[in-house]
Amino acid sequence: MTAAQLDGDSAGGPTVRRMLLGAQLRRLREARGVGREEAGWEIRASESKISRMELGRVSFKERDVADLLTLYGVVDDAQRDELLSLARRANTAGWWHTYGDLLPSWFQSYLGLEAAAAVIRTYEVQFVPGLLQTADYARAVIRLGHGAATAAEIDRRVELRMARQQQLFGRPDGPRLWAVVDEAAIRRPIGGLAVMRAQVAQLIEAAARPRVQLQVVPFRAGGHAGSGGAFTILRFRDPDLPDVVYIEQLTSALYLDRREDLDQYALAMEQLSVQAEPPSRTPQLLAGVLQELDAALAG
């Protein structure tokens, strides 16, 4: 692995650097035949702390990393420097730190993962996926969830969502977004007919972008694999990093990266993608919705 790869995607920020460093440390530990407990003892920490470090869930102290590398027999200066520098950079803040007051930590973790993803697969039932929302539509959705917030706070939340879109789609190496949405999501007029019309018009443009694939699960598909609700699967470039399933709940979020859980959600996502209309049908479906909205607006 080269330094450039270790850097992850520079836009990925700290979360993914931690994951990459953790994956490297696990590989080195296993190659040396060192147990987690022994590794923990070396840095005066528990076995479970080593687990969490190797999953990239906690921040790293440079000294701990240095001690572990010594224990794992990594003596080559260049290799040590590379990993130690990764440890330093894993502790820097992501682009979203200026919105820190708005963001619970679980969502900051998500932004880190999202920014590092190579492919974002998302399934939405009620709403247009956040990464494809217009500012007005986003504002209406955010109002639903933050009724008590001041206008200024809502504005900043909208701004954050737009910044996320810019971060992901504004760079040439940005991720692919593969979204499957229930027909309800493109029909429910969140924010009113005019807002929805502009949103659907933007979806038509978005779906034409090469890195965006949008599939609609039509009502007539009947019961389908996604009855459990919205979820997202993030895929990273690094072959050592497992996919992460993300399920947002009202006040927290669930991250799943155990293989058994991934299999279940991956299967549901595959099934949804197969049940949905192919991406080539999406423009036509959206044009139909647009026409209906125009008729309703004219009426």
Binding site: R176, W178, A221, R235, L267, Q271, V274
Partner: protein
């Protein structure tokens, strides 16, 4: 290539069966991909235990794909590709390699597995200058493949037909040589066939496939190097002919070729 089309009677989409191993997903597992389920990993591990060379064979087969497409789009000047048995997308898929050489290349991916097709549609997207399309069809019906690819490919101009790691899905009773022949019959002079497949050249590979076929997966038929060579009858073989994956025009810095249980070749229709 196991699961079928939506049933016309019910209109229900096909189910993805995660209870038996599926060749495209097992391959994905061997190649280090993440689009596989527990059953695929179990069967993949079982094969690897008996035949440790399988992972290298899978990688060398992909590497052959890369060199063959670079040759076809480069030296041979081919701009149209019919890639049958697409498999799950990985790094350096046919259209990416071809369009890197010539962005205007047109590629039709053919598979009959619903999961492969949704992945191909979503992830194998073309350069603006070229085209990629996806056809759901069965290798057992070559005329149907050609008919459905005709919307994208111009069959009055040379086409490269790609059959990589796929012919083993066709049992002897279904006459695999005749299928290849019928595909090439539809291609004009100057077209190419690129074909690779696993061979029954070691006891380990034969035993591992016997067990794979008993796992409930759609059976895969290994053939002899002579049988692989026979697919090219009537074609002009591009040097060095039909050889193991690692011996077909290796990159200059590749080092000595590894031994693999798989043969490949590229031939030109005169």
């Amino acid at each position: 290539m196991a699961e079928g089309r939506p049933s016309p009677a019910t209109g229900q989409p096909p189910e993805i069966d995660a209870s038996v191993a599926h060749s495209a997903r097992v391959w994905n597992y061997w190649l280090g991909g993440k689009d596989n389920f527990a059953v695929d990993r179990t069967v993949g591990d079982m094969v690897r235990e008996i035949f440790p060379g399988i992972v290298d064979a899978a990688r060398h087969s992909r590497a052959f794909l890369g060199r063959a497409v670079r040759y076809l789009a480069g030296e041979a000047g081919i701009r149209q590709f019919l890639d049958i048995g697409t498999g799950l997308p990985t790094v350096d898929n046919t259209h990416e390699i071809a369009q890197r050489v010539a962005p205007e290349c047109r590629i039709v991916y053919v598979d009959n597995d619903p999961m492969v097709l949704v992945h191909a549609r979503a992830l194998l997207t073309s350069t603006p200058e070229g085209t990629t399309t996806y056809v759901e069809a069965n290798l057992h019906q070559p005329e149907e493949i050609v008919r459905r690819a005709a919307g994208t490919l111009d069959f009055t101009r040379p086409v490269a037909v790609m059959l990589l790691g796929i012919m083993g899905h066709v049992g002897d009773e279904a006459q695999p040589r005749s299928i290849v022949g019928r595909l090439l019959d539809a291609m004009p002079s100057g077209s190419y066939l690129a074909l690779s497949d696993g061979t029954n050249t070691s006891e380990a590979v034969v035993e591992s496939h016997r067990q794979y076929n008993e796992s409930g997966a759609v059976p895969y038929h290994l053939r002899s190097p002579e049988q692989i060579a026979a697919y090219f009858d009537g074609l002009e073989l591009v040097p060095p002919g039909v050889v193991t994956f690692t011996r077909w025009r290796p990159d200059p810095d590749a080092g000595p070729p590894a031994e693999v249980d798989g043969y490949c070749g590229v031939g030109r229709k005169p």
